[in-house]
């Protein structure tokens, strides 16, 4: 029951320490990868330019340069700001991200917490970030920040519903809220008696997958859903007054959450850490699983960033209409159909 199945038995507290350190890695590594690979390089490629090239080979050390730049900046406060709320806001957002990563399993024994309420917990803690954003918007004591914070809260609340409902289809099909067991249900599943690649839920829950992707795009306030930080209207929304380290925390939170949501989508719909053709109880998966999961995460986040660089921004009313009039009814329909089929077969 050790993390990488070493030949030694670790005590509970030793396992917990290892899992905690790895959770930190699991938050920061996807964030850095996504920023360099997609935000720097893929966006540049799509816009026919090179992107960062100076720091390191192909600009691979640009991230360190950026972090160094942010760390050197002065820690500024608006004069009327509510200092405590203003200071605490980025940490609340980051806390939500760190709690979210805990439910992700990366192998038969390589999990952070393995509980029966896994999916439920993920959806619950992802809503904590709304409080952080509202705190940032209000604590800054600036019009643009307040409007941005309110827009973000309205958007996050609206898109949380289709997000939850899209996952319900997966939960009904797997028959469990435990994330680890959802992965195993896909690994051990069969498509009309053929178990060659297991049964990734993207096949039966394709509508759910699409709704989930649209919803996480909005939850991450990525374009085309970036009304809360629309620079042509409200400067940068709730981020307007933030500089240096605190802005960096928001930035890390955003991209780490993008990575974790992608990994969650990969876990719910693409089979998680399971690689076809192998035995899911194999100890090999404690080492191979994280790699497979990162591969699938990069695949899903590629889609997210592809949409980000392709589509122009929605208007606020269009954004709310898409959530309430299209995504919520579709996901409810998906739940009903899944439930009926589950009972029939």
């Amino acid at each position: 029951m050790t993390v990488f199945n070493l030949a030694i038995e670790l005590a509970y507290w030793q396992q917990t320490v290892i899992r905690s350190v790895l959770a930190l890695v699991a938050v920061l590594l996807p964030a850095g990868t996504l920023v360099y690979l997609y935000l720097f390089k893929m966006m540049s490629f799509m816009q026919s330019r090179l992107g960062p090239m100076e720091a390191g080979p192909y600009g691979s050390l640009q991230l360190l340069a950026e972090v160094g730049k942010f760390l050197q900046k002065e820690d500024l406060f608006p004069r009327a700001a509510d200092r405590v709320v203003f200071k605490a806001a980025p940490f609340v957002v980051l806390a939500s991200t760190f709690l979210l990563v805990l439910v992700l399993p990366a192998g038969p024994d390589a999990w952070f917490i393995n509980i029966d309420t896994g999916v439920f917990l993920a959806l619950a803690v992802s809503s904590i970030s709304v409080i952080g954003i509202l705190m940032a918007g209000w604590g800054s004591a600036s019009k643009y920040s307040l409007i941005g914070g309110l827009r973000a809260a309205g958007q996050l609340v609206a898109y949380e519903l289709p997000l939850v409902l899209a996952v319900m289809g997966v939960v009904i099909q797997a028959g469990t809220l435990n994330v680890q067991e959802i992965v195993l249900a896909q690994a051990n599943g069969e498509i009309f008696g053929w178990g060659g690649i297991g049964n990734p839920f993207i096949i039966t829950q394709f509508l759910g997958f699409i709704i989930f992707l649209v919803a996480i795009q909005a939850e991450l306030t990525q374009p085309p859903f970036d009304m809360p930080v629309a620079e042509s209207e409200i400067v940068t929304g709730y981020l307007t007054e933030y500089t240096g380290m605190r802005f960096l925390l928001f930035f890390i939170g955003e991209f780490a959450t993008a990575g974790i949501f992608s990994a969650l989508a990969a876990t719910f719909f693409l089979g998680g850490w399971y690689f076809p053709g192998l035995d899911p109880t194999d100890n090999l998966f404690n080492l191979l699983g994280p790699v497979v999961l990162i591969g699938k995460m990069l695949l899903v986040s590629f889609l997210i960033f592809w949409f980000r660089f392709t589509y122009p921004r929605f208007r606020e009313d269009q954004l709310q209409q898409l959530a309430w009039k299209v995504l919520v009814p579709l996901s409810l329909l998906n739940i009903v159909v899944t439930g009926v089929l589950k009972v029939m077969f």
Binding site: A80, D82, V85, I115, D116, T117, F120, L121, L123, A124, V125, S127, I128, V130, I131, L134, M135, G137, W138, A141, L146, G149, L150, A153, G154, V157, E160, T176, L177
Partner: protein, 184 residues
Amino acid sequence: MISLFFAQIQGLDPLEGSEVLVAQNVFFALIALVMVLAALKMVTTENIVHAALYLVIVLAGAAGMFILLGAEFIAVTQILVYIGAIIVLFLFGIMLTKGSFGAEEGEFRERSQMAVLVAVLIVTVTSGAFIDSFRNTELSREMPSTTAEIGDMIFSQFIIPFEAISVLLLAALIGSVVIARRDQ
């Protein structure tokens, strides 16, 4: 002094037997302390947004208490419903309607005596009811309540209350829509 403190919090353990749940009791004391302080700050602060944020700490503490009791499903529900939805709605409403920054005037002080009376009444009635119902109940340490069990219970033993609550919530939902759209 410290040993006395530990003896005190160990004394809270209602379970008989040689094993004492030290870690649970220590964390119970810590969480309870944080919750009481946050609750006091919440009712005494002049700033309504600060009050809502102190309420977040109190509710998160309650979720922690449920985890200590092995009721993780209720703990997660606590986070999802109270912190994720109700507090967000509070903050949203406050920021949308008041829109002012900084400290408020003490406009809530006028009705403080009534509030104290109601609070004391609620504490007396609920704690009395709880002590009366659960005085001799012991928590099973081997089998904390699991999510699957709760699901089975809701849809078998408690199906009628569950459906009644569903209808009540639906009525509230429709009612709020009707009130909100009255002008049209």
